[in-house]
């Protein structure tokens, strides 16, 4: 098959040139598959993948905390800057079997910790809509790559909103699947009980296709579960009843008015909108940070400069080797969360913090599940602001954390959530989010596609359509 089959590009070379040029402005990628390797992977895909596979020969980008054999797995950290992964994530393998081809690894906040992508130790990613602004985080590189038209879809990971928030900042779809529906094998662990691999794309149908290929129980991940959508398919054919959260305090004024306008549009189109209350939302951020930090403190303990990753030049003994390697390899946000996690698990403090956070998590989940007795899906903002500027002019780290309450809810409750483009506000993209019961991914995609027809989401400057 000729190069022309590459989704509208006249040649692989033309595509690679476009990627190079565009990424100079955006900085979405931390590493790229070499041109020759990319070419041979494409050829392999064309000869091995079924010609019925919609992904055959389709390039995609992978967040650099998801393993692709032979490619870097830096996690945006100096600690793993030199690591080349000896294996591939199950999700990546499945996509490769379906013919998709990895073009590179995208930037992220170090180990997935952050809401801007500015916490990466290895590169700066700019928002394709306005390079003075952040792409969002932590899957900012993946969202920027998709929004800039460099790839039709990209993989990200979502621990507390890390796919949906950059998707909203960049004007793309971003799906966080139900916990366990996509194998976590190959996703570098930050907070194991919360995180999942998900997808960023500008095409809702492609998002569905990619999700259907990636999902499924994986013998390599015991927390993975079979996808059983029956549970959420009771109101077949009807318009979903949409729950909206009344407590949207703290939204930036422009966001709030955009949000209310969209609600009106939706209501006018005949959707039933029911106001719901989720009092537990108030505790989402502290519970999320307590659990995530606790798990992170254990998950990141393996980076000790012994088997892989950064190792300090000289140490006299084991504890010094670990201390120096970690001090040199980790950024401040990572250190902060490890310390916080260690603290909340300390004997004497565990009941007060970690166990209490787990109780909140259970209560929140119950509250959400009972809300789904009344409504089919819940619509909410993704983030209180649009993409903020880089550096001091933006949100400080603490404000960024407080802003996670709408997104982290889905992670604590293990339910799927989909961010989708809701148009522009003051020249920047604006996203909304749909939450649904477990395994309702398909219905969320349906609803979001219907909603986006109500307005005209634009694409970022320089965007080139995929065919």
């Amino acid at each position: 098959m000729s190069d022309a089959a590459l989704f509208g590009w006249s040649s692989t070379a033309e595509y690679c040139t476009y990627l190079d040029e565009n990424d100079k402005k955006v900085g979405a990628f931390l590493s790229r598959t070499g041109a020759d390797e990319f070419q041979s992977a494409l050829e392999r895909s064309r000869s091995e993948a079924s010609d019925r596979s919609p992904l055959r020969g389709m390039p995609f980008a992978v967040k650099d905390n998801i393993a692709v054999k032979g490619l870097p797995l830096s996690c945006g950290s100096k600690m793993l800057e030199t690591l080349s992964s000896p294996y591939s994530a199950t999700a990546v393998e499945k996509l490769q079997q379906a013919g998709a081809v990895v073009v590179g690894k995208t930037n992220l906040d170090e180990f997935g910790m952050g809401s801007s992508c500015d916490n990466s130790a290895l590169g700066t990613t700019h928002n394709p809509w306005d390079v003075a602004r952040v792409a969002g985080g932590s899957s900012g590189g993946s969202a920027a790559a998709v929004a800039a038209g460099m790839v039709p879809f990209a993989l990200g990971s979502d621990t507390g909103g890390s796919i949906r928030q950059p998707a909203a900042f960049c004007g793309t779809y971003g799906l966080k699947p139900s916990y366990g529906v996509v194998s976590r094998f190959g996703l570098v662990a930050y907070a194991s009980s919360l995180e999942t691999i998900g997808i960023i794309s500008l095409d809702a149908q492609l998002l569905r296709t990619v999700f259907d290929i990636m999902r499924g129980q994986d013998p390599k991940d015991q927390s993975s579960r079979p996808f059983s959508p029956q549970a959420s398919e009771k109101r077949q054919g009807e318009k979903p009843r949409i729950g909206v959260i009344t407590d949207i305090e703290g939204l930036a004024p422009a966001m709030e008015s955009a949000y209310r306008e969209r609600l009106d549009l939706i209501r006018k189109k005949g959707y039933e909108i029911v106001e719901i209350e989720l009092p537990m939302l108030e505790y989402v951020v502290p519970a999320y940070y307590t659990i995530a930090s606790a798990e992170a403190s254990a998950n990141l303990a393996r980076y000790a400069g012994i088997r892989y990753g950064h190792r300090t030049d000289w140490a006299d003994e084991h504890s010094e080797l670990t201390e120096k390697s970690r001090d040199e390899g980790f950024g401040d946000e990572v250190k902060l969360r490890i310390l916080l996690g260690t603290y909340v698990l300390r004997s004497g403090f565990k009941d007060q913090y970690y166990l209490r956070a787990q109780k909140i998590r259970t209560l929140l989940r119950n509250e959400i599940l009972s809300a789904f007795q009344k409504v089919d899906q819940i619509l909410s903002p993704v983030f209180p602001t649009a993409a903020f500027p880089h550096g001091d002019a933006g949100l400080d780290q603490f404000q960024q954390k407080l802003a996670d309450k709408f997104t982290a809810t889905a992670n604590l409750a293990a339910i799927p959530a989909l961010a989708f483009p809701a148009g522009q506000s003051e020249g920047l993209p604006f996203g909304l989010q749909l939450l649904g019961p477990e395994f309702s991914e398909h219905k969320l995609i349906d609803t979001a596609s219907e909603f986006t027809e109500l307005w005209e989401p634009k694409t970022a400057p320089g965007f080139r359509e995929w065919r």
Partner: protein, 475 residues
């Protein structure tokens, strides 16, 4: 006037084919760092997958120790830093071990003693550090191999009793087939807690003894430690809570850590391993797989075969040995005669060859045939020994061998007498000594005769002929 309280933490390496959370081989002694993969090396992004064979064995032990079993296997992370522990946390069990509240009844000095089991939990082992000069080398072959930890209540009272308990415990795990249970090879490791107190006053301040690598050292270390602690109290002092090591060169315990650092393992549920519910079928298979416990078998065999306590204990020390014995009895052997052969000639053959009895060519049925041939006089003792040694190594038919090698017993006086005459005539001074009553010399002549007849001569007939000929009673 003093009570001694000893409790053990025993670790056994389970005999699974693969590691507990990945598919790497669980083979001991391979080239360093050959049985490793991204999972057991804790590479970023990898996840553990529970080996259900390890869980099966864990539940077998839980059953054999009569513990209350957990319906689900729940794992936690135990956080601590160690260079040979790849993830810097160990996947272990804490709040919900696979088994709790069990007991072991074991024989000690002709009585049955009981040790309560606090809990049994499954975990992964760490790797191994090798210190070479100013370098430290790491071998991760052992990292992720399945360990079962058995924690006893402080029910043991002396070093001797503890040694007997450990010996029985080893037999028990070998009988179930879950571990080699060998302290010297490190597949059974043990730490001991010991305290003393004036009689009736309850537990004293405990000292932990670490890294005791043989059951003999367990006895020596505990006896030493008991005396040391009593000495301190007698002198008006008090025992420090500390961790001590056994110094096997000096036969003393030495301080390892003066004050017990308060260790905070920051346990929390392992998010990568949801609770695993094995289900009724699994538990039924576990129950069906459990063999008769060694002490039960010992008692049954004592009664059934009129064996002494010691004889039955020897046989039941290894399940294969007891199985062999029972099979040979079933094939018609008389129990005492069989025991005599098994504990004597066969034990020597096993020792010399290194081949376990059950793996030799000598089946219990063949041994029974040899003993029958011996009993009915078809062969004599020395030939039987030869035959057993040969059958141990090679595939033969015992009865066929007699014809083949001309091993039929020789008791015809007319055939033996010429040989006796020849031996005595060739050694006149020895003959004179025997005549003077030096019976030792008889053995020398017997040897000559047996050599000449290839061991076939009937010993009684030969002895009588030698004595008579020397004395001149026959000519």
């Amino acid at each position: 006037m003093y009570d001694t309280f000893i409790g053990l933490e025993i670790h056994i390496q389970l005999l699974t084919k693969t590691k507990v959370f990945c598919g790497c081989s669980n083979n001991y002694g391979d080239e360093p760092n050959t049985n490793v993969c991204p999972v057991c090396l804790g590479y970023p992004g990898t996840l553990p997958v529970l080996n259900t064979d390890a869980l099966f064995m864990a539940y077998q032990v839980v059953g054999a120790l009569k513990c209350k079993r957990a319906e689900a296997a729940i794992f936690e992370r135990k956080n601590y830093f160690y260079p040979d522990m790849p993830k810097n946390y160990q996947i272990s069990q804490f709040a919900d071990p696979v088994g709790i509240n069990g007991e072991v009844i074991f024989p000690f000095q002709g009585e049955e003693h009981r040790v309560r089991i606090h809990d049994v939990h499954l975990e992964e082992d760490a790797g191994k550090m090798i210190h070479a000069g100013d370098m430290s080398l790491l071998d991760y072959n052992r990292a992720g191999t399945p360990l079962l930890e058995i924690v006893t209540e402080p029910d043991l009272r002396s070093g001797e009793e503890t040694e007997a308990f450990l010996r029985y415990f080893r037999t028990l795990v070998r009988t179930i087939g879950v571990s080699r249970g060998n302290m010297e090879e490190g597949n059974l490791r043990c730490d001991a807690n010991i305290s003393i107190n004036t009689h009736g006053a309850g537990l004293g301040t405990k000292v932990e003894l670490k890294n005791i690598n043989s059951s003999r050292f367990v006895r020596l270390a505990l006896e030493y430690e008991k005396e040391r602690q009593i000495g301190i109290v007698e002198a008006g002092g008090s025992v420090d809570q500390e961790t001590r090591l056994w110094n096997e060169n000096k036969d003393i315990t030495v301080v390892m850590r003066r004050k017990e650092e308060s260790k905070d393992y920051r346990y929390f549920p392992e998010p990568d391993l949801p609770p695993y519910r094995p289900g009724e079928d699994f538990f039924r298979r576990v129950e069906e797989s459990l063999p008769e416990l060694p002490l039960d078998r010992q008692k049954r065999m004592e009664a059934a075969f009129s064996l002494t306590d010691e004889q039955a204990s020897y046989l039941c020390e290894e399940k294969a040995r007891a199985d062999y014995f029972e099979a040979a009895v079933a094939a018609g052997s008389e129990a005492q005669h069989l025991y005599f052969w098994m504990s004597g000639d066969l034990a020597a053959l096993v020792n010399k060859s290194g081949t376990p009895l059950e793996e030799s060519r000598l089946s219990p049925e063949k041994l029974a045939t040899v003993l029958r041939l011996l009993d009915n006089g078809a062969i004599h003792g020395p030939i039987a020994k030869k035959m057993v040694a040969l059958l141990f190594e090679e595939e033969h038919d015992p009865e066929g061998l007699i014809a083949e090698r001309g091993w039929k017993a020789l008791d015809d006086t007319s055939k033996i007498l010429p040989i006796v005459k020849k031996a005595v005539d060739a050694n006149p001074s020895a003959a004179e000594q025997l005549k003077q009553g030096e019976t030792k010399v008889l053995g020398f002549f017997m040897g000559q005769v047996m050599k000449e007849t290839g061991g076939r001569a009937d010993p009684e007939t030969a002895k009588a002929l030698i004595t008579s000929y020397v004395k001149g009673e026959i000519v």
